[in-house]
């Protein structure tokens, strides 16, 4: 059967298969967990029934999404398990290992088949072989070194069901709905926070306008011959007092609102972290599997004990820990555990035990991996450190055991004399430390001669992982969040601008900004974009994009606004993250955020309260939105008569009016306004579809700032706002 016979279209099918893969993964992990929990003994009837149920469900679901190869394998697996339950298939020591191998292989196969990968057929053949072997009752234990799917051998294969090539499935995250609900409500709260803060900012803008007006009245008073009148001054003083009070009140509220915003962001972060949490179970499963493979490869008898399966931590952390755990297990098997005879001679159990324990300690995850082997010979290690020239004899002599053990975590020192295939000569342990350091954690080793070695990893339960562009300046590594990095380029020596993709961009000499001499040669440049503005930052060397963990710089360093935070490198060094907003401000110092550079170099009218008069609702809405974006509080009137009413109630800082309107038309309105004291010099802008010379003359007479021809664009409006007031040179 081909995909075309299925009930779904291609997109649906992709989605369904993704869901199926996630589900299958869960089910099979359950099977694996059950087998691993039983050790090498035969599982109970109950366990076997459960395993059959899981494989049966899998079979049904695979059929629905058209993965017939999976149906076949699941069916065979189910039959074998049924056989084991009934006793018709005998259970031998290696059966557990084989079952785990099959479930692992089936998992890989489902992934491959779901994605339509070519090698899937080979995997299927291999799986069938493995299942048959269990079914035949395991006459001989297969001596496979490592249970990995090998590259396709040159076998002629039966034509397998051909799945249409489907796009690469993305990894799916399965989350409890309540966790999403929490996030949604936090996101909603975020909108409220934004609205509150925006309102405050508008108020501050109005206040700035009021202050400018007060200043202007003081300025005018000073212009008058002789001492200014007391009345004028006291009025100005009164205004200032009011404004000061409003200002301090507004800043206080703004601080409250920012605090609320901080809380909401905290909630969001917490929610997101919870979505990403998973229990230590998966990590333990991985450890059990790794140890199984190691046991088979080395023949060392070792059991795994796990404690703290319910400990929850970030999936990202868990993923990063897979390799360190593998490394530490290899290390324990290769170096820690003594040969059986030696263990018996020492009075220990012949089977060694490795214990992995996970627990939460405050905000930290503590993961301990302990073996009950021979322990680390610090005397030998000391000699080794000296022999390899890493330490001076004096230093080695003075160091205590802890320091000696700590040196083990540095790269290049081996515990055992001979280079060992398995554990990679101590270098592996160094990598463990690097990975853990990158996650912001620490590794400690403790050891008792003859009793065993314990590695403890302490690291944050969750991490704020981000993509960043790393580069070097003056020998130091810096980072910029990758979302703001759009391109890279080359910049000529001493160039102050450069063209990137037909766009002329300012060049910011980062080396100069960071206190280094500027080299007089072509430099690598990173194109940074923030809030719609772009610039090119010159750097010594681009290292490339990396996944980093963002750490706050803390309250003391908060005033250094150039830095947005820091990250810790694999070797434990702090690397600073530059704030793209600050870089943009430095490259565009004369263009404050969100404003167009005004074309006639006149001061723009500061935002305040504006009245828009037009009989077209569309125009009113459009103007409200455009002015609103510039920080104006906008009222509207549909004709001149209504506008006159409104101007009597409130004082407007700007009037924008159409000319042709019912009742009182535009010019009538302006004439009447100009007769009133408070509107004598208020900026007025006319918007019109017909601007003839007669209109222009009349407008000039009435001290109108500008005539703007419809259709109105933001650009035209901003130009009009920036037009000089005709009667005065200084606004």
């Amino acid at each position: 059967m081909s995909d075309s016979e299925l009930d779904f279209d291609a997109d649906e099918l992709v989605m369904l298969r993704q869901l199926f893969c996630a589900e299958a993964k869960d089910s099979l992990e359950q099977v694996t967990a059950r087998v691993l929990a039983t050790g090498s003994g035969k599982p109970t009837g109950e366990t076997l029934t459960e395993m059959m149920r899981v494989t049966h469900t899998l079979k049904g679901a695979a059929g629905t999404v058209g993965l017939h190869g999976v149906v076949d394998i699941s069916h065979r697996l189910e039959s074998v398990i049924a056989g084991i339950a009934k006793g018709s298939v005998s259970w031998v020591d290696s059966s557990a290992d084989q079952l785990v191998e099959v479930t692992d292989g089936l998992l890989a196969y489902i992934d491959q088949a779901g994605a339509g990968v070519a090698g899937a057929d080979v995997t299927a053949v291999k799986l069938r072989g493995q299942i048959d072997q269990i079914a035949r009752g395991n006459r001989r234990r297969e001596s496979l070194p490592i249970p990995v799917i090998e590259s396709p051998p040159e076998t002629v294969l039966e034509p397998a069901p051909h799945d249409t090539p489907v796009p690469e499935p993305k990894a799916l995250l399965r989350v409890e709905p309540e966790r999403i609900d929490d996030l949604m409500s936090a996101a909603g709260e975020l909108l409220f926070d934004r609205t509150r803060i925006e309102r405050r900012v508008q108020l501050l803008r109005t206040l700035a306008r009021d202050l400018a007006r007060t200043r202007q009245s003081l300025h005018d008073a000073l212009d008058v011959e002789g001492p200014p009148s007391k009345a004028t001054l006291s009025m100005a003083e009164g205004e200032l007092a009011g404004q000061a009070a409003l200002l301090s009140q507004t800043t206080a509220s703004l601080l409250d609102e920012i605090e609320a915003l901080r809380r909401t962001i905290g909630e969001l972060q917490k929610g997101l972290t919870r979505i990403r949490m998973e229990s230590a179970k998966n990590l333990f499963l991985h450890a059990a599997r790794t140890l199984r493979a190691l046991r088979r490869a080395t023949g060392v008898h070792v059991e795994l004990r796990t404690i703290g399966e319910e400990t929850e931590f970030d999936k990202a952390v868990a993923e990063q820990l897979l390799d360190p755990i593998t490394q530490l297990l290899r290390n324990a098997v290769a170096h820690g555990v003594e040969p059986e005879e030696e263990r018996i001679a020492r009075g220990k159990s012949s089977v060694a035990t490795i214990t992995i324990r996970a627990r939460q300690d405050g905000n930290l995850l503590v993961l301990e991996l302990a073996d009950d082997g021979r322990g680390i010979d610090t005397v030998a290690l000391r000699d080794k450190l000296v022999a390899t020239g890493r330490w001076t004899p004096t230093r080695a002599q003075l160091a205590n055991d802890d320091e000696i053990l700590d040196a083990l975590l540095g790269t290049g020192v081996s515990i055992r004399g001979d280079a060992d295939e398995l554990a990679g000569r101590g270098i592996g342990v160094g990598l463990v430390r690097e990975t853990v350091a990158r996650l912001g954690g620490e590794v400690k080793v403790s050891s008792q001669m003859g009793r065993g070695t314990t590695f403890s990893l302490r690291l944050p339960l969750s991490t704020a992982l981000a993509q960043a562009m790393l580069f070097k300046i003056g020998g130091q590594v810096y980072a910029i969040p990758n979302v703001h990095v759009v391109d890279s380029t080359l910049v000529d020596a001493f160039a102050t601008t450069t063209t990137v993709r037909h766009e002329q961009l300012p060049v910011l000499r980062l080396d100069q900004l960071l206190g280094h001499a500027t080299a007089d040669e072509r430099r690598a440049g990173i194109v940074v974009s923030f809030a719609g503005k772009r610039l090119v930052c010159t750097v010594d060397k681009i290292i490339g994009p990396r996944e980093i963990i963002i750490k706050p710089l803390g309250p003391l360093l908060a005033p250094l606004t150039l830095y947005a935070g820091a990250t810790i490198s694999g070797s434990g060094k702090v690397q600073l993250i530059l704030d793209p907003a600050q870089l943009v401000r430095r490259a565009h110092p004369d263009a404050p955020e969100g404003r167009v550079v005004d074309p006639v170099s006149a001061p723009m009218i500061l935002a305040g309260r504006a009245l828009v008069v037009d009989d077209s609702r569309a125009i009113r809405e459009a103007m409200t939105s455009m002015l609103g974006r510039e920080g104006w509080i906008v009222d509207v009137a549909e004709d001149g008569a209504r506008a006159l009413q409104m101007t009597k109630q409130l004082r407007y800082d700007l009037v924008v009016t159409d000319l042709e309107m019912p009742n009182v038309d535009g010019f009538d309105l302006i004439v009447r306004l100009r007769k009133e004291d408070r509107y004598r010099s208020t900026p007025v802008i006319i918007i019109t579809s017909r601007a003839n010379p007669e209109h222009r003359a009349r407008a000039k007479e009435l001290n109108v700032r500008a005539l703007v021809a419809k259709p109105i664009t933001r650009r035209k409006l901003l130009e009009a706002l920036a037009t000089k007031a005709p009667q005065r040179d200084d606004a």
């Binding site: 944050p460 130091q476 360093l557 005033p559 150039l562 060094k573 110092p589 500061l606």
Partner: protein, 146 residues
């Protein structure tokens, strides 16, 4: 005789100082110290302490004296926690921990020499002032609008 104080006695940038033990969270040997460009000399740099970013300060610069040499990996430092801020003071050498009487002119050590008793809260406040001033100075100037 004045009040007895449990202090840690150390030298830094040529001066001899004492700090009450209750403020000292840890005595550490610094990891790699990353320089922070544009920061004032009072900030020697930042380093990684147990996975968090630790600012390293120069005592002398905070007391408006000639600052010591740049901080390097392996230098000693006292980790202080006060006013909700954790930071490190770079030291040349930690002499000893002692219980010393406070005389009229400050602390006097066993050999009768006077010691300057540092007030960590004041040091941190001074550091904040210096950093705020530096932060403001480093801001790009906006074009005047009026």
């Amino acid at each position: 005789m004045g009040e007895l104080r449990n202090v840690i006695v150390f030298t830094a940038a040529g001066g001899r100082y004492a700090l009450e033990l209750r403020w000292v969270r840890e005595v550490v040997s610094l990891g790699f110290v990353t320089g922070v460009p544009t920061a004032p000399t009072a900030l020697c740099g930042v380093c990684n302490l147990h996975g968090t970013i630790l600012p390293v300060l120069d005592v002398a610069a905070l007391l408006d004296q000639t600052p010591g040499p740049p901080a390097r990996q392996g230098d000693g430092a006292l980790v202080l926690e006060t006013e909700g801020i954790v930071c490190a003071l770079r030291v040349d050498q930690v002499d000893h921990v002692a219980t010393l009487p406070e005389g009229p002119g400050g602390l006097v050590d066993a050999s009768g020499r006077a010691l300057k008793l540092l007030d960590p809260a004041q040091l941190v406040r001074r550091a904040q002032e210096i950093l705020v001033a530096a932060g403001t100075a480093a801001e790009p100037t906006e074009a005047p609008r009026e």
